[in-house]
């Protein structure tokens, strides 16, 4: 599983097969899943904001696999598509075949801080503890999820659905989320400080800087910081971190 890990960041890829069935109202289970996820978009913030250490994540439903039908750039494609002297049987043989999935899949792709031990179990346990009910809401129509009613079973289930990344690239950094949020808060606040203190005399800048440090508490993650997932400037700062 090492290619799921880059530094302290972890790439979790989950494909959970959705049952092929319909509700009494004749709505496909996959469409219910889609609709519920769509509903998450209309909430004040994503339920995933409550899941510790989540950097970025996404959900979608994989209905089928796709095949671009125009001629491509590979040697075989070019030859068989364009050379008229290639026998028809060979041309047909080389044409891409049409694939279709027999199940639809709920895809969950997540980047999180796993720490030096790449703690997938800890992340999934945190996810279950934070939003267990919301997880059931989404995964409830998936094959094999019926028995999942606690964190341990959820971890086992997710591992059965997990795919290994072939390459995971971290273009950002892999610090714990609290560190990243605190750093962003400091960057924002210090930029304001620098603007507000332009051209002031040395003694005033020093006094103001001390007051600034007392307010923002740069080394204290439990001090003022950014809220995870906040998308409005007036909701951005969390003065005291929520515990648990």
């Amino acid at each position: 599983m090492s290619s799921n890990i880059s530094g302290n960041a972890y790439a979790l890829t989950i494909l959970s097969p959705i049952k092929d069935g319909f509700t009494q109202d004749e709505i496909a289970y996959a469409d219910i899943v889609r609709d519920r996820l769509q509903g998450w978009n209309a909430e004040h913030n994503s339920p995933m904001a409550l899941v510790p250490q989540t950097y970025l994540c996404r959900y979608f439903v994989l209905d089928d696999v796709y095949l671009e039908s125009l001629p491509g750039g590979s040697a075989i494609d070019t030859l068989v598509d364009w050379l008229p002297f290639v026998p028809d049987t060979l041309r047909r043989w080389a044409w891409p075949k049409e694939d279709h999935l027999k199940s639809r899949y709920l895809v969950f792709s997540c980047n999180f801080h796993g720490g030096p031990k790449a703690d997938l179990d800890g992340y999934l346990r945190g996810m279950w503890n934070a939003i267990g009910d919301r997880i059931k809401e989404i995964w409830g129509y998936c094959h094999g999820f019926d028995q999942v009613d606690n964190a341990d079973k959820f971890i086992d289930y997710m591992k059965k659905c997990q795919l290994t990344a072939t390459l995971f690239f971290v273009g950002s950094n892999d610090d714990p989320l609290e560190e990243q949020l605190k750093a962003l808060y400091l960057k924002q606040e210090f930029a304001k400080f620098a603007i507000d203190n332009q051209g002031l005399d040395a003694a005033t800048v020093k006094t103001n800087f001390q007051a600034f440090v007392d307010r923002v508490r740069p080394s204290e993650l439990d001090g003022p910081t950014w809220k995870a997932g906040a998308y409005r400037v007036d909701e951005l700062v969390e003065l005291k971190k929520n515990k648990g």
Partner: protein
């Protein structure tokens, strides 16, 4: 549909590979993992938060229940997930312009892959094989990948400066402070929402405005009861 969360865009692309050439792709990725220097080109694309490639063998789609039909596929599939800043065009084009060769290697012999140059067939290829995200979450919607990286520099510099200048007074302090600002000039900057921060934020905003305009104070909440009651008064709040 929500491919956008704040400043990040979620791209999902699925493409088929002939099973008997899959080893070529796996080998290329293996080299990239073993020799990180080969990813130098990707690192120059500083707009990327995180990206990954996942190759799924034709018999490797998760099968969890005897009642679930087994997949019978002709091809192996490669899934590409990326989190980046900026628009779709900016991203796809920056790949083409910065690392066309690397891109062609990663998608080597994917069926009907058009190659990254010229642009138009490449755009068509990605567009055709792209799957829309339904729900996308970003822990810092106001920050770009470069903000996250530069914030780390600001934080460590600030902590060090504070420790180093505790007993420094007067003009010396100002000198060191100015040096700090000069050193951080590429890392400073205010962060604000982009005009539409996320599709979900946009929807919430629209609904709140509608409720504020159409419903009496204390009236019925929105369907599903998920929006907070203080929605009406949020604009009056003024945060730091």
């Amino acid at each position: 549909m929500s491919n956008i969360a704040g400043k990040a865009y979620a791209m999902n692309v699925i493409t088929p590979i002939r099973p008997y050439t899959t080893w070529v792709n796996k080998f290329i990725f293996w080299i990239a993992v073993k020799i990180p220097g080969t990813l130098k080109g990707l690192i120059t694309l500083s707009l990327i938060h995180y990206a990954r490639w996942v190759i799924i063998g034709k018999d490797q789609f998760p099968h969890l229940d005897p009642k679930q039909p087994k997949e019978e596929l002709n091809y192996t599939y490669m899934m590409f997930f990326s989190n980046f800043n900026g628009s779709w065009d900016q991203y796809v084009d920056s790949f083409t312009f910065a690392i066309p060769g690397g891109l062609d290697l990663f998608w080597k012999w994917n069926i009907r892959y058009s190659k990254s140059v010229p642009l138009t067939p490449f755009h068509d290829y990605i567009r055709y094989n792209q799957i829309e995200t339904i729900h996308y979450y970003n822990a810092y919607p106001l920050a770009a990948s470069n903000d996250v990286k530069s914030a780390k520099t600001v934080k460590s510099s600030l902590i060090k400066f504070e420790q180093d200048t505790r007993n420094v007074s007067g003009d010396n302090f100002l000198k060191l402070y100015n040096a700090l600002l000069r050193g951080l000039q590429h890392d400073m900057g205010d962060m604000y929402p982009t005009p539409i921060v996320s599709m979900s934020a946009h929807q919430v905003e629209r609904r709140q405005k509608w409720h504020a305009a159409n419903l009496p104070e204390g009236g019925a909440g929105p369907t599903g009861g998920t929006a907070p009651k203080e929605a009406h008064g949020h604009s009056a709040k003024k945060g730091k």
